[in-house]
Amino acid sequence: MFLFGFKRLLQGVVTVWFIATATFFAMHNVPGDPLLNERAGSEAIKANLESKYGLDQPLSTQYFIYLRNLSRGDFGISFTQENREVNDIIREHFPVSAILGILAIVFAATGGVLFGALTALYRNRLPDYIIMILVILGISVPSFVIAAMSQLMLVGINNMAGSTILPVAGWGTILHMLVPALVLGLGTMAYLTRLMRSSMLEIIGSDYIRTAKSKGVPPPRIFAKHQLRNAILPVVTVLGPSIAAITTGGFVVELVFAIPGLGRYFVQAVQQLDYTVIMGTTVFYGAFLVFMVILVDILYGFIDPRVRLEK
């Protein structure tokens, strides 16, 4: 088990190094100069800036300097927010994205499992149809539409109530989090509902359920012990990558609801060619994703003994 974990960890480090290297060279090959500004500076001003950021060095030297700093966990200073370190940006804004993401995934997972079980239970009956229509909507409508519409709805509710029941945007209290998290988790919730439904239906027809039934096990017990628990396994598998995807993919929701998360910095950095922030956030997100996948692999071993046996 430990050997297994260690091996996966080593693979993870190599993956992160690969991400870092690929991003570094891809970024330096994106056309455009990060130091160019609307007001054209003289050669002197430009040279001053280049030496400040070390861009006057050859690319290979920059790469090795970058790797050395990376191994120390130092991502450097942002090009656009010139007196903030990239580490500070990540430290201050990732928790916000993480909190929002965790809540979103909790909504998504509970909603997905409950609705999935419900649709399987009421297969081809009214609740099934209603939920499945909503699921298709949830998967196909992009989040910026849902975000904008739900915000408009909040304004309507507040106006009708005559006071602010739920804040329209902003961050800081529990009330600020509910709607954005729901919007953020909606796509995943829909996906998990479908996954849970098909997984439940697959199990209903399996041999051990039939055996349990023939042994006279009471139906609620079959449902809880055999059906639900086994059906949840595939959901757990996709949960890891989903957490990473939700935590890193909240850009639109963060923008619409004015939430100070990291996603905003990630996207803006690319638009503004802010080299250090691009590198910092990409490597950080990459490492986070790799970590989540490894974590799920290990957890899986605990939930399903067969995985351990195969190793």
Binding site: G41, Q81, N83, T110, L121, L154, V168
Partner: protein
């Protein structure tokens, strides 16, 4: 059937039980998360206007990237700094110069003297002195600072040489004679220097405080020292800011609110509109699609020119077709900017542009464009085709090669680019190729000359015609189309240094004519903003020059309730 039904029913019951457990767990988790969330933002629910606290709430479009005034270059930082800092001279509510930290000044042809007022005070209670300006200006020009706006200080003697590292900082033509007298030497006569010192890059900086921040000046609320009407007291990065009234500020006409809260940071126009509708912020901009909503709500919609001019800039490098005057004239006469603005862009606050100088530029007495009117332009296809034939003969071409139109990637610029593509195809049979690029790459291509025509914009730095007038001087690095003409260079030199106001203004008149007759550019539009302000807030100002939004004179009018 019956059996199945009861099966489903009891399973549903146990599912409901599970659901109840899970919901309970979720509720507990939410409270735990809320606790952590409380540490990453400040909860603000005061509404747009709080009369009791004499406070208002606003939104910013992004986190201010640089609050070190010697290095900042962007509009949002300028807005914050316009409230926390004050230069030697400031602009009043009518965009007229008004004394700031200096109570009087004198501008000569070889230099200037500023007398700093005794009551000017920093937010820690210490007096503002001439040394603070001397230190700030030397820091701007220090090569190690790498300030992008350093060029705006180049009228000061030796400034450019210091910035290039050819001369030591001590040689810069600025010195504090006493604590209250600042003496400046000019590199060349600079009659508009009073307007320059109102700009952000000329704001003061106190040496001992700056050194105490260890290179983190402007990074946090505690790392800032203010001499303006407001102090930044709280700053949660990316989330919120609080500006409080500066108790040490000298001018009782500015800083009338006790508190300005920036509770939201987002550039999503719809989010801002929703916040305004919900009564959470005092003002918001309106884009064209929002105007019907605004009318429905019976809001009073204000309009304002934001100062920026957009134009088609030609590439005047020799190997380009656009170097040919008759070709440029053909393009000029085959278009009409009012069609672009009224029929294509349909932004109600935009104005068709006619000149390099926007309508709000001041002349000697009144508006520059009234004092120096241009002949009315109208679409003339016959003339355009004649010029195109002339160009064809001069260049010895059967057919023109495809013309590269370089543009930004916003939906508005793409709309305009497609309009020109269609227009010139239809009117002149020319093929335009649209090259849409992200901002930084568009700049890179403009700088290297990789275009025939570029859709460019220019916003003013200071309230003087020269902020547009020197754009096409051969030495100006922003002249990215490389237009070169001796006549233009001479006119710009006159406009820069002529001390007789009449002669100086005449030079601007001639620059305008030359731009027009030489078709250096084709003016497209002057950008405007539609916006709506909470009726209880008075004295709020939007500016063409300086901070885009200005709350320095704003106050709450309680009679509006």
């Amino acid at each position: 059937m019956n059996r199945n039904g009861s099966n489903g029913g009891s399973a549903a019951r146990s599912l409901a039980l599970y659901a109840a457990y899970v919901l309970l767990a979720v509720a507990i988790l939410i409270y735990i998360l809320a606790f952590f969330a409380g540490n990453t933002g400040i909860a603000i629910n005061g509404g747009a206007i709080n009369e009791e606290r004499n406070s208002i709430t606003i939104a910013l479009s992004e986190e201010p990237p640089q609050l070190d005034s010697t290095r900042s270059t962007d509009a949002v930082s300028f807005v914050v700094l316009a409230h926390t800092m004050e230069g030697l001279i400031a602009y009043d509510q009518n965009d007229q110069l008004t004394p700031g930290a200096a109570e009087r000044w004198e501008i000569r042809d070889d230099g200037a003297t500023f007398w700093i007022r005794e009551e000017a005070t920093w937010s820690d209670g210490q007096p503002v002195t001439a040394h603070d300006f001397e230190f700030a200006w030397k820091r701007v020009l220090d090569p190690d600072t790498a300030a992008q706006y350093a060029f705006i200080l180049y009228p000061i003697k030796n400034a450019e040489a210091v910035n290039q590292g050819d001369l030591p900082k001590e040689m810069l033509g600025v010195r504090a004679v006493t604590d209250l007298v600042l003496e400046v030497d000019f590199e060349r006569p600079t009659p508009y220097f009073d307007k320059l010192v109102a700009f952000n890059t000329y704001f003061p900086l106190r040496e001992d405080f700056f050194e105490s921040t260890n290179g983190r000046y402007g990074a946090d609320a505690a790392m800032l020292l203010s001499n303006g009407p407001y102090i930044l007291t709280e700053w949660v990065h990316g989330a919120s800011m609080v500006w409080e009234k500066n108790p040490y500020y000298w001018n009782s006409e500015k800083g009338l609110l006790d508190e300005i809260v920036t509770a939201y940071i987002t550039n999503d126009a719809n989010a801002n509109l929703n916040l305004f509708k919900d009564g959470q912020i005092v003002q918001t901009g309106l884009t064209a699609p929002m105007l019907p909503t605004a009318m429905e709500q019976r809001w009073q919609i204000d309009r304002f020119m934001d100062g920026t001019l957009f134009f088609l800039e030609f590439n005047h490098r020799e190997d380009r077709v656009t170097d040919n005057l008759n070709f440029r004239k053909a393009l000029y006469f085959a278009q009409d900017p009012s069609e672009l603005v009224y029929k294509v862009l349909k932004e109600a606050s935009y104005l068709p542009a006619e000149s390099l100088f926007p309508i709000w530029i001041q002349g000697l007495q009144g508006a520059f464009r009234k004092e120096y009117p241009l002949p009315k332009h109208s679409l003339d296809l016959e003339k355009a085709r004649e010029y195109l034939d002339l160009a064809r003969q001069e260049l010895g071409l059967e057919d023109f090669p495809p013309i590269i139109l370089l543009t930004g990637d916003s939906s508005l610029s793409l709309l305009a680019a497609e309009y020109y593509q269609e227009l010139y195809k239809k009117n002149l049979g020319l093929e335009l190729r649209i090259d849409a690029q992200i901002f930084k790459q568009r700049l890179a291509k403009m700088t290297s000359g990789d275009f025939d025509i570029v859709m460019a914009g220019w916003g003013p730095d200071y309230f003087d015609a020269l902020t547009f007038g020197d754009l096409f001087a051969s030495w100006n690095l922003n002249n990215r189309g490389r237009y070169q003409s001796e006549e233009m260079d001479n006119l710009v030199r006159t406009a820069q240094s002529e001390l007789d106001p009449q002669k100086r203004m005449d030079a601007f008149g001639s620059i305008q004519e030359l731009i027009n007759s030489d078709v250096v550019i084709i003016p497209m539009y002057e950008r405007g903003v539609s916006f709506v302000v909470d009726p209880r807030l008075k004295g709020f100002k939007r500016r063409s020059v300086g901070p885009q939004v200005d709350y320095n004179y704003a106050y709450i009018d309680s009679s509006q309730n």
